[in-house]
């Protein structure tokens, strides 16, 4: 018979396994190989950990795409099954998850939006020879000319440029500050903003940095205010964006904010009061709800998932749809699908206008928006001439 202490230990072990298994089930993926009559579409995103919230819409977008593809008869008569592997919001987890998916020979893989994770997967992507999509913005992702990597997002080579240009030309600000997260994305934004301001004969009045886990942004905000900033461009992640916007409201005569894409996700905006959004502008790749091309799709998305459609969900939807289209139009091999995708140019989708070209950099659209409790008001849409 088990001793009392052993019984407790067993109980704890069972509880742990149960919780972890449940967490795994939450990912919604199906394990195992593909049956003969189905095609696997792989997905490597965070369903647990710090990035799970930011990447949940991607899963919704991919699920809706698979439902639409299967409703139209699948791909050449075979149904598509979405298989999701969790990165656990960690780089090692992202690499291992990619290996697990790649071993199931999926038709394509929708990978993470975290650029650092995808950079870590780069050699695997090259070796696997499977068309792989990312929503990561880092310029470095497509600089390596990996023929199997496709970016379903507008590159950070262009979004910060649009933000800085808006601050100068539309807001008329001459004293512009930068507040960025201390990672690759933040560094990329800072560099592009400085270059763009230099083209207008300006330089930032201050560049402040914060750690990904920092909780108090008041020192950074006060330093920028003391430097005389009229507008501050923020490159950060959703939780920190919210803290920045809330703490900014505590300041006398707060400056305008132009915030990076993730601040404009519906789940981020839900956390803010109306007065905290005054003087805030954002950059997104698209506003599916208000674009006549995608408004019906956005309504279906909202009905299906109970939340407003955002650009990231729309972009992963587009990725899956383009894969299905490529497979139907070709012999369905990985090489043929990749070649087809590289040939897409000026294709209007739900989340962007797609032109992949030789380096796989797909997105070419930036929308400047003004947020309110009702949603995003699109002020201007810039389609980059490529």
């Amino acid at each position: 018979m088990l001793q009392r202490r052993q019984r407790y230990s067993l109980l704890v072990a069972v509880m742990l396994v149960f919780t972890l298994v449940l967490a795994g089930c939450g990912a919604g993926g199906g394990g195992g190989g593909a049956a003969d009559d189905e095609i696997i579409l792989g997905m490597v995103v965070a369903t647990t950990g710090a990035y799970a919230g930011g990447e949940a819409p991607l899963i919704n977008g991919a699920r809706l795409a698979v439902e639409h593809i299967n409703a139209e008869g699948g791909i050449n008569g075979r149904q598509v099954r979405l298989v999701i592997e969790d990165t656990g919001s960690e780089q090692t987890g992202a690499v291992n998850a990619y290996s697990r998916i790649a071993s199931q020979n999926p038709i394509a893989i929708l990978s993470s939006t975290v650029s650092a994770f995808v950079l870590a997967q780069m050699e695997q992507i090259q070796n696997a020879g499977i068309p792989t999509f990312t929503g990561g913005g880092a310029v470095a992702l497509t600089e390596q000319n990996n023929p199997w990597l496709f970016r379903v997002r507008t590159s950070d080579a262009w979004v910060p440029v649009a933000a800085a240009t808006f601050a100068v030309e539309e807001l008329g600000a001459e004293k512009i500050g930068v507040l960025r997260v201390n990672d690759q994305m933040g560094e990329g934004w800072e560099q592009k903003i400085i270059e763009t301001l230099a083209e207008h004969g300006l330089e930032p009045v201050g560049v402040e940095v914060h750690g990904a886990d920092d909780k108090d942004m008041m020192p950074q905000l006060l330093r920028l205010q003391n430097a005389g900033a009229e507008a501050v461009i923020v490159a950060s992640h959703p939780p920190t964006h919210v803290v920045i916007m809330k703490q900014r409201k505590q300041m006398d005569n707060p400056f305008d904010l132009i915030v990076s894409n993730s601040a404009m996700l519906p789940t981020t905006l839900e956390l803010l009061e109306a007065d905290e959004l005054e003087g805030v502008y954002g950059t997104v790749d698209a506003v599916p709800v208000s674009d006549p091309f995608s408004s019906d799709w956005a309504a279906e998305y909202e009905e299906r998932f109970g939340m407003a459609a955002d650009f990231s969900a729309a972009e992963y939807y587009d990725a899956a749809i383009m894969v299905a289209e490529a497979a139907r139009e070709t012999d369905g091999s990985h090489q043929a699908i990749a070649d087809y995708l590289h040939g897409i140019a000026g294709r209007k989708g739900m989340g962007n206008t797609w032109t992949f070209g030789d380096n796989g950099d797909g997105g070419s659209q930036v929308v400047i928006v003004r947020p309110s409790p009702e949603g995003l008001d699109a002020l201007s849409t810039i389609v980059i001439d490529r």
Binding site: R4, R5, Y8, S9, L11, V12, M15, L16, T19, L20, L22, A23, G26, T47, T48, G49, A50, A52, G53, A56, S89, N182, E208, V209, H210, G211, D213, K215, D216, M218, P219, Q220, L222, R223, N226, P238, P239, T240, V242, V243, K246, K249, Q250, M251, D252, T267, T268, L271, E273, E276
Partner: protein
């Protein structure tokens, strides 16, 4: 600007102090470094959201409910996780707390979802002007409540029979047992108190920070640093170390560099260890055999 920065630094320091105090209480009583302590902060924050935003309770009532639930969670944690592992290798216990930490994060994702949440601050989000510092009333509430709770805890531990029994159990469990003190029960009370303090910290930071399943991890890391700065196992050190760490971190960000504020804070920690390796308020050798 200085007044504003100082108040923010003190508020952050109070949070660190609350977290570290629970951490240190457990270290003293059970000799266990509880790596799930950060998740107690996270759970407190989520309970804050659930009790106030979802159930509509007044913040004060929500705080009380959260503290009570967290005390129960702490007691269960000691009974189910720690007590059965009594006498096992230290690494076994540490790994168990790490495992529970992961399970709690995943559990929170399952229950509350992956999206970030927030809750309304005490007395609204309209800031007040205090001696030139524009601050949220909630920040002052954090400082006041932390001061009250720490003072009450000090009194309980030093002036009441239960407090003295807890201290006796921590210092010499065998002798305490021979004196008729129920050491395991005292340990359960300590874990309950530690979890309640962490839950309170989580509840108080929820309106200022954004609540996510990973909110507790960085707080726990800072708590560990504060415990070392204050003197491993020292209650006074936890409080003053927390305040000092919060103020140094915030002042460094405001006046030196936001990019290197953590470097400055941890450089002070390293300097302190070089000059005074036992920390600010070292535990007296005679206190624990």
């Amino acid at each position: 600007m200085f007044a504003q920065i100082l108040v923010n630094g003190i508020a952050m320091g109070c949070i660190y102090a609350l977290v570290t105090l629970g951490f240190v209480l457990v270290v003293r009583a059970a000799g266990v470094v509880n790596f799930a302590h950060g998740e107690m902060v996270m759970l407190g924050a989520y309970l804050g959201v659930s009790t106030t935003a979802a159930l509509g309770l007044a913040p004060a009532v929500g705080l009380l409910v959260t503290i009570l639930i967290m005390a129960g969670v702490g007691a269960l944690f000691q009974r189910i996780i720690v007590q059965p592992l009594h006498g096992k290798h230290l690494l076994t216990i540490v790994m168990a707390t790490v495992g529970i930490s992961i399970a709690m994060q995943n559990g929170a994702t399952l229950i509350w979802g992956p999206y970030p949440l927030t809750m309304a601050p005490f007395f609204g989000s309209r800031p007040v002007n205090l001696l030139g510092a524009v601050i949220l009333p909630h920040t002052l509430i954090i400082i006041a409540l932390t001061g009250l709770v720490l003072a009450a805890l000090h009194l309980v531990l030093t002036r009441t029979g239960s407090g003295l029994m807890i201290q006796a159990s921590a210092q010499d469990p065998e002798t305490a047992r021979l004196m008729g003190i129920r050491v395991q029960r005292m340990n359960t009370i300590v874990f309950a108190t530690a979890a309640a303090l962490a839950g309170m910290a989580g509840f108080l930071v929820a309106p200022l920070f954004i609540v996510t399943p990973s909110i507790g991890f960085s707080t726990m890391l800072k708590g560990l640093a504060v415990a070392i700065l204050g003197g491993w196992g020292s209650l006074q050190g936890a409080i003053l170390g927390g305040l000092l760490f919060g103020i140094i971190e915030t002042l460094a960000a405001a006046y030196l560099s936001t990019a290197y504020k953590d470097v400055v804070a941890f450089a002070v920690l390293i300097l302190m260890l070089l000059v005074r390796p036992q920390g600010l308020f070292p535990e007296k050798i005679g206190e624990k055999v």
